[in-house]
């Protein structure tokens, strides 16, 4: 069995960044296993611009963002195996994979990085009743057909879900000549970026119907029409608001699910909110030396933060192998409090070393303005940061300074609350 210092599963932005950062920290014998025929993950099909502003300080398209890492990998000693599907990873970090040419591969990693990304929710996940004709695709599938493989999925399109993928595909279909009839959103607000709503829908007069959903699908061989209804606050269709929209294509952009089948088979528990594994500040799971980063851990809205997170895991793995880590006397739980749905990481297990702070990623429950992100322990505030606006669709981050964390702390709560009035007059 071939042994590696690090086996990375998935060559998307997370896997690439983790491997490169590990190598920069002195690690050798690294392999990345990728099931697709090319590396870069979902980025090569995301041909639109808007990537890289945080990480590179310039605006790139998806393929360009991926290329920065692909190019660096080509100059590295990191081994990359494409068309290689990992079937199993066990708790001893032994990996079984299938490669198109080499057949069954057995590898062992001193560390493993889980970087399998996420997949899209389907019609079955959201249970839309009706016929089962062709022409119903996830937005990402349509994106791959249109941008990589060169097929146009249809001519008269309805899109369910106004997340960024849905908005981006509305523009893409329109630009390629399709008639995009409407984008439907069950929530009272779009979860996509304002910029995407303006540049993808408003620019082309594509209607966004908030608090609307699809209640029926009809079509024999091919999709013929969908029934659309307005919903009430409990998401129930309102009688009398139904209308039929003729279309041959329905794109679903209704959420993403971290792809954790391998993690579950290893015996790792999944977080009820993120759908990813539980991790400490090094992005290490409950199995020592097994890390998770990127959308397999929690769904990100910016790839820039995927890269940053994966680098934390990559560096930690190198430190782990080089014995540069020291466990804290007792671990600290980081728990979400008021208006916070989850945090990553969920624990702090190692001493800070030369780290000045730990960046905590979180999501807010609902849109709020003029708030503070507050860390507290034993009912006392540690530090708080003002934020002008927070939205559920945009990840919130805040730094927990190492100097303010003491050994007595067992739990640090993170909340997002309305800012107390600044003037008392």
């Amino acid at each position: 069995m071939q042994e590696y210092n690090m086996v990375v599963i998935g060559a998307g932005p997370a896997g690439m960044a983790a491997a490169l950062e590990a190598e920069k920290n002195g690690l050798t014998d690294i392999v990345i296993l990728e099931r697709d025929e090319y590396i870069g993950g979902i980025l090569p099909q995301c041909i639109h611009n808007g990537f890289g502003l945080e990480y590179f300080g310039e605006e790139l398209t998806g393929p360009e963002y991926a290329y920065e890492f692909i190019d660096e990998l080509a100059d590295s000693n990191i081994e990359v195996l494409t068309e290689t599907m990992v079937l199993d990873v066990d708790e001893n970090k032994e990996v079984t994979a299938l490669n198109k040419e080499k057949g069954v591969l057995k590898l062992k990693g001193k560390t493993i990085v889980l970087a399998m990304g996420c997949r899209e929710r389907t019609r079955e996940n959201i249970r839309i009743p009706g016929d089962r004709p062709s022409g119903i695709l996830s937005a990402g599938t349509a994106q791959r057909y249109t941008n990589i493989e060169g097929y146009m999925p249809g001519e008269k399109v309805v899109i369910l879900g106004s997340g960024d993928i849905g908005l981006i595909m509305a523009r893409r279909m329109r630009l390629e000549g399709a008639d995009v009839k409407a984008v439907l959103e069950i929530m009272p607000f779009s979860s996509g970026l304002v910029r995407n709503k303006v540049q993808c829908l408003d620019d082309f007069d594509i209607p966004l119907k908030l608090q609307h959903t699809i209640t029926r699908i009809e079509g024999q061989e091919r999709l013929e029409r969908v029934r659309v209804a307005q919903v009430d606050e409990d998401f129930n269709p309102i009688e009398g608001t139904q209308e039929w929209i003729e279309c041959d294509t329905l794109l679903l952009s209704v959420g993403l699910i971290p792809e954790n089948e391998l993690s579950k088979a290893m015996g790792l528990d999944l977080h009820p909110v993120t759908g990813g594994t539980f991790v400490n500040e090094n992005r290490e799971t409950s199995i020592e030396g097994v890390y998770a980063a990127g959308n397999v851990l929690h769904v990100h809205d910016l790839v820039d933060w995927v890269s940053e997170e994966a680098e934390i895991a990559g560096k930690a793995a190198a430190d782990y192998i080089n014995n540069n880590l020291e466990k804290r006397a007792q671990k600290i739980e980081i728990t979400p409090a008021e208006n916070v749905t989850y945090t990553v990481p969920q624990t702090i297990e190692y001493t800070f070393g030369d780290k000045k702070f730990i960046k905590v990623f979180m999501r807010v429950t609902e849109p709020m303005e003029d708030v503070e992100v507050k860390f507290s322990a034993n009912k006392e505030e540690i530090i708080s940061y003002p934020k002008k606006i927070v939205m559920p669709g945009e990840m919130v981050t805040a730094n927990l300074p190492a100097a303010l964390v003491t050994d007595e702390m067992e739990e640090i709560k993170v909340s997002i609350v309305k800012k107390a009035g600044e003037n008392n007059g």
Partner: protein, 124 residues
């Protein structure tokens, strides 16, 4: 007097900024909450521009398409016309990221450039 409602894309808040225009002159801007909002709305009224990402067909490539973009933003009003030009274009592999595939599209002075390497098709 014409009122133009412009949604600022500067931050998630998405302020609705009203640009009032009289005889082609901006006479009033309101509804913004920061300087970015004001500046954005004025630019967006005077000369709205966009980066256009798309794909071009490739002959004998490892993939049938190469992703492309306008190297700089072009006027919003030309997006659909630019797509017509892009749709009629076909290029031959290999292609390198940054290669100019269409020069000076629609006399805008802006080139269409490749955003991915596309190798030649592997001959079996």
């Amino acid at each position: 007097m014409a009122k133009n409602d412009i949604i600022c894309t500067g931050c998630p808040k998405g302020c609705h900024v009203t640009v009032e225009v009289e005889d082609d002159e901006i006479v009033n801007v309101e509804g913004y909450e920061c300087p970015t909002g004001r500046e954005y709305a004025i630019n967006e009224y005077k000369n709205p521009t966009r980066i256009l990402p798309s794909t071009i067909r490739v002959k004998k490539g490892e993939f049938p398409l190469v992703p492309v973009k306008t190297a700089q933003p072009i006027p919003k009003s030309l997006l659909i016309k630019a797509m017509d030009v892009i749709a009629k274009t076909e290029v031959k592999a290999p292609i390198k990221i940054g290669d100019v595939l269409i020069e000076n599209i629609l006399d805008t002075g802006v080139d269409i450039v490749a955003t991915r390497n596309i190798d030649k098709e592997v001959e079996v």
